[in-house]
């Protein structure tokens, strides 16, 4: 059995988070992961306060285990989401796409454990100082919004810089990845892509099929020109986006406009021409549909076997 300090801190059985993926991480997926012993996370994404509240209430009906909410800081409704998580007594909040400092005081005073996603050492140090319970060091292998640094390089640097627990994310798809993350100094992991094909994940069948079929080279990052690169599966849409980025006849505004609504179109409608099918580089390792319970127990059995065998090279 694998237990780390993050299990005690959050009251979970396995040190694993399910990433707060927009238009994917709903009450169905989050409650299934929490029921499997991990930490399920609902994505607040661009939901307004009442939409988020409804999803949280739904999740509470589906699980009595702890679960979290990911607050996307670039959302126009971030202030509302920040208030709703307090009113609904959500036990864990993760944050993405920015610096959560301005909400830290009210969240920590409400007893919420705040665990920001950090793409750099400086931001990790800053959020530790303002009261973060842990940090998620997410490398650029992940799907969705990505930074430059890889998980392999980022996790040990963040682990050395802070004294709070570090959760590794990006590029982890099985037990080997978990074992490796622990070796780099993490005491927990966050997975997104592997959960896309979970039975309890409500995304379109087309999306799941794309992930299951994907090979190692089948993701691409677009949006660098706009300053917020995004990793997704290669589709007619992402290839077109990629081309347009290098076409100076296409304005930044037009480029930005192409992306509007594309996450919903992928996750909910399976629209290959206009949807953005976010996925990480480990998509090539995801080859079967399973329940969240099967995923969580399988990868921790693997991790345990790998970690137990790690001594074989030490003579």
């Amino acid at each position: 059995m694998i237990r780390t300090p993050i299990c005690e801190m959050l009251g979970i059985e396995y040190p694993i988070f399910q990433g707060g993926m927009a238009w994917v991480a709903d009450a169905s997926l989050a409650s299934a992961v929490s029921n499997a012993g991990g930490l399920g996370i609902i994505a607040a994404m661009n939901s307004n306060g009442e939409q988020l509240r409804a999803e949280i209430k739904k999740c509470k009906e589906m699980t009595d285990k702890p679960f979290g909410v990911n607050v996307m800081l670039m959302s126009p409704f971030a202030d509302e989401a920040a208030r709703v998580v307090i009113e609904e007594n959500v036990s864990v909040v993760t944050t993405g796409a920015g610096n959560p400092s301005k909400y830290m005081k009210e969240w920590t005073e409400a007893g919420i454990k705040v665990i920001p996603v950090v793409p750099s050492v400086a931001l990790a140090r800053m959020v530790e100082r303002v009261g973060a319970s842990a940090v998620i060091a997410e490398g650029g292998e992940s799907g969705g919004h990505v930074g430059e640094i890889t998980t392999m390089a980022l996790v040990p640097q963040v682990a050395s810089a802070v004294s709070i627990p570090v959760i590794a994310a990006g590029g982890i798809g099985d037990g080997r990845g978990i074992a490796a993350a622990f070796m780099l100094g993490a005491v927990g992991v966050q997975l997104g892509t592997r959960f896309l094909v979970a039975e309890e994940c409500t995304i379109s069948g087309v999306y799941k099929e794309k992930v299951l079929k994907a090979k190692d080279i089948d993701t691409i990052t677009t949006g660098k020109r706009l300053g917020h690169p995004v990793r997704s599966l290669k589709t007619p849409f992402s290839r077109r986006m990629f081309k347009c980025e290098y076409d100076m006849n296409v304005s930044d505004e037009e480029l930005e406009q192409m992306g509007v609504g594309s996450l919903r179109k992928a996750a909910r409608e399976g629209d290959l021409e206009n949807g953005s099918f976010l996925a990480g580089q480990i998509a090539g390792m995801v080859s079967k549909t399973q329940t969240c319970h099967e995923i969580v127990t399988e990868i921790f059995e693997e991790a345990e076997a790998v970690l137990k065998g790690a001594g074989k090279w030490v003579k």
Partner: protein
């Protein structure tokens, strides 16, 4: 005094020559993104012994300098 020191730090960090940086320069003009800004703020804190609340939106060199000066007086 604070301004000169901040400009020195910025020049060192961004490789923009210090005589090209003024109070009105924005971080964006210096080619710095939000992560660079966090990096610099942490460096400035160490240098001046002040704690900077990132809830303030820092856009220009002058806005950071003013914040440091206000908080050093306390």
């Amino acid at each position: 005094m604070v301004l000169e020191k901040v400009i020195d730090m910025l020049a060192d960090y961004s490789d923009v020559e210090s005589d090209k940086i003024t109070e009105d320069s924005t971080f964006e003009e210096l080619g710095l993104d939000s992560l660079d800004t966090v990096e610099l703020i942490m460096g400035i804190e160490d240098e001046f012994g002040v704690t900077i609340e990132m809830s303030d939106e820092f856009k220009t060199v002058g806005s950071v300098v003013k914040y440091i000066e206000d908080n050093m007086e306390q």
